[in-house]
Amino acid sequence: MLLFAVAAALGAACAPDTSSRAAGELRGFGMNPPIARPSFTLTATDGKPFAFRERTSGKVTLLFFGYTNCPDACPVHAANIAAVLRELSWADRQRVTFVFVTTDPDRDSLPAIRAWLDHFDSTFVGLRGSVDSVNAIAAKLNLPGAAFEQKAKDGSYGVGHSSVVLAFSADDSARVMYPFGVRQQDWAADIPKLLTIKPR
């Protein structure tokens, strides 16, 4: 009986981490160590506070920092993810959230963010805060903060920002990031695998 108990304990101690192995081989870039789902609160497009950790906990959450006047990386990222999410089953679709945090609060009012996101998927979450608060959140995630380019004569300007999407799993960790250039086929391969990672 004692030997059986010892064997069982050793077996349990040596059991593989099924949460990471369940994900299989992901096409995103691995992050080692994984980043914990951060705790921060910004204003959502309905004007109400959005506590990111509490509101997204337990879900696959794709977090992206960008701005709506971005013509290339930001809309392509959003459109690719929206296209892939549309193909998920209804049940799986409820378990994935895309969160867009604007790096350009001067031009990205809450209605502007909402209108932009609705072009891709009306369930996408849009968040806004001051430049300093958003940059502080990015820094905690080891991402660069926003950098504002010089205004052109017509008042337009670009905003330098991170172009990666962080993917948090149900275990509240981000172990993989997706740089710009990731294709719809890559998202289609990885999102189902991310959904297999169970909460702690």
């Binding site: 290339d72 392509v76 380019e149 991170s162 172009s163 294709r183």
Partner: protein, 152 residues
């Protein structure tokens, strides 16, 4: 059977030629315009080939409505921050290719562009002069399949 096949080849060639533009050694093809989401700016992608022995320079792009397309390059620095650098001109090397692609060099299209199925776009070159091409107007969700892989 041979005549039918030859007719098909001619029709396909005509369709391809209608969308592409060429002047001397420079050819512009696979032009796509993506209207921006809402009032956001849109984007233009294209493939420019130079079969000539000398380099040519893309100096401007103009939409059918007369608006200019602003050229930009996406540059990522050492800390992973991506910024758009405005460009006044782009060199197309001899016997070479210039790609305007997602994540790389691209054109920024004016806000609020409407969406017909296609639109005429004029490319200006220092040696090749004016080249008109027909751009297919697509959604951002179609960029992945129509334009393909981003970056360089």
């Amino acid at each position: 059977m041979r005549r039918a096949a030859a007719r098909v080849v001619l029709v396909v060639a005509a369709l391809v030629a209608a969308c592409a533009g060429t002047n001397g050694g420079v050819a512009v093809r696979s032009v796509f315009v993506v209207p921006g989401a809402g009032l956001a700016p849109g984007v233009l992608y294209a493939t420019i080939d130079n079969a000539g022995a000398a380099a040519d320079t893309l100096t401007g792009i103009e939409m059918e409505d007369g608006s200019s397309v602003m050229l930009h390059d996406n540059l990522t620095d050492a800390v992973g921050r991506t910024t758009m650098q405005p460009l006044q001109r782009l060199v197309v090397p001899p016997q070479g290719r210039l790609l305007l692609r997602p994540g790389g060099v691209h054109g920024m299209v004016g806000r609020g562009a409407t969406r017909p199925d296609s639109v005429r776009v004029t490319f200006w070159f220092s040696r090749g002069g004016e080249i008109a091409a027909r751009a297919m107007v697509i959604d951002y969700a179609q960029v992945d399949s129509a334009v393909g892989r981003g970056g360089r």
